[in-house]
Symmetry: C2
Subunit: 309 residues, 2 copies
């Protein structure tokens, strides 16, 4: 499905088999993450043994995709969790470790798998339950990045803004866009306040993944705070699938979504200097099936990093 | 149970009600973590609003205890997961953020609750299943620490060693000590190799939580590598309960175990300069009930930090 979408040709690797030849989707998800890390190392012309540290997260209980992939990669590893905001959190922590001279080469990696996420968070996919128009489709994908200090060439991660948990009372796990939009706006506004910047200072303000439901809400909240992002505001969850031809309802989600969109689309545009400064804001809903069943609302978070060409 | 153990009088707060007046054990666990953070701020004579960032983790799916507590605390938050190794991971990340001058005051916090962990990982406690002698008892407890740069007075966190995932093929979730011991040894040996130190350079090498099964295995592995820790090697999972009077089998576990033992027992001994240098090594098993049911072995990890008086 990701390969058939408008970004399909830009991905490094698209597989036809959502099991990757494994016995379970969970094993496939681990393998996908491991392959992404290995590919990132290959592209940087280093061996995995040269990687000092891996920050990784995913959506599964006990983030087993990250832990099992890290077992195979055999490098120092720290697991993290902020649901679909994990990609920004991993990038931010990796960049901090390099910038602070604690390590030379730090990898950030995340993944999600539609079928493992569906059966954990909602229903087994074989059940074929109906989904409301506000629902988002969890991306099957994995992305990794190697962060290292450099000579000034190539895109740089220059800023990070760590979000706080925002919960506006949404209880519907089929409407994560509405739940996450206020968290995205909160982090973007905090970023502008901290840096003194405005939307015009960015070529792109990229959220992931608010979907067609959440992005307009985020846009409105920013305008109310005095920041009109206009067309600069885009969303990974809207970009990855073709809404006309692919039945994904409000758009995409999943920790892997913003990772594959950023890596395959945005980072190359920074390299080519088609865009010069990007505020990337990954968003996550921090609920669990258990908290949903206990009647709790959905706490959400967004973490942001700035990339410059 | 924790209050009735040999360390009971040293804890800041012991509650008789494992629901803390809430409707669910999950809500109680969140409240316990939130209370621990607030107490740490109070002890540091600051308001929670002065805290720049919280690193927090716990054992529950999607680390909901940490996320929901952070919602109430309303500060920038990053979730982490390394099961019962989370306390060392949180301390290490918090200290890095302060040492690198990214933030002034960073909180590390973790928790676990016996009843929420049992029903998630194994069986509902009402079921009263039998447990083998190698099983460990998940501690109900929460600990928090405020890390800030200081004037040279008071204990300091000076080193961190990030572990890699070690999996020796143990499949039995009722024998986590055997599974985690090689991970603990791996990190301790790496720490000695990185720093050129030996066991004699430490007054205490404190693991958490290997239990009576895992600690001797770790000790043997260290001896084989040329590091005889002898009596310096102790374990939080052995210290917290009275093995004669409290039926906890091999000992204790849970992300909260090493946090409450370190905070209530070890940190005060550092303040009083009864001990001068501690290598604290938190250990975690990174399996999930799903990976267990799919027949996978248990990947484990240990992260270490050094505290000096």
């Amino acid at each position: 499905m990701e390969g058939e979408g408008p970004l399909g040709e830009l991905f490094d690797h698209v597989t036809e088999d959502d099991l990757l030849g494994k016995k379970s989707w969970e094993q496939a998800e681990q393998q996908m993450l491991q392959d992404a890390c290995q590919l990132a190392a290959n592209k940087a012309n280093i061996s995995m043994n040269d990687v000092d540290l891996i920050f990784s997260g995913d959506l599964l209980n006990q983030i087993v995709s990250s832990s099992f992939a890290s077992r195979q990669l055999d490098r120092p590893y720290m697991g993290l969790f902020s649901a679909c905001a994990s990609w920004a959190q991993a990038l931010l922590l990796a960049a901090t470790m390099v910038d602070g001279n604690y390590f030379d080469k730090v990898m950030a990696a995340v993944c999600s798998h539609h079928n493992t996420a569906e059966r954990q968070y909602r229903f087994p996919v074989e059940f074929g339950n109906q989904r409301p128009p506000t629902a988002q489709w969890t991306v099957t994908g994995a992305g990794a990045a190697l962060i290292e200090s450099g000579d000034g060439e190539g895109p740089r991660l220059t800023h990070g803004t760590i979000g706080r948990v925002v919960d506006m009372g949404v209880k519907d796990p089929y409407d994560m866009g509405s739940a996450m939009a206020p968290a995205a706006a909160d982090t973007i506004i905090q970023h502008f306040e901290d840096t003194g910047r405005k939307p015009e200072d960015y070529d792109l303000i990229l959220t992931g993944d608010l979907s067609r439901v959440g992005l307009p809400i985020c846009s409105d909240l920013l305008i109310r705070a005095g920041y009109d992002a206009g067309d600069r505001l885009e969303d990974c969850g809207i970009m990855i699938y073709d809404n006309e031809k692919q039945d994904v309802l409000a758009g995409a989600s999943g920790a892997g979504c913003s990772a594959v969109v950023f890596n395959a689309v945005i980072y190359p545009r920074l390299i080519r200097k088609e865009i010069h400064r990007v505020l990337f804001v990954a968003t996550g809903s921090l609920h669990s099936p258990l908290t949903f069943e206990q009647g709790e609302t959905m706490p959400c978070i967004a973490h942001a990093v700035v990339w410059e060409a």
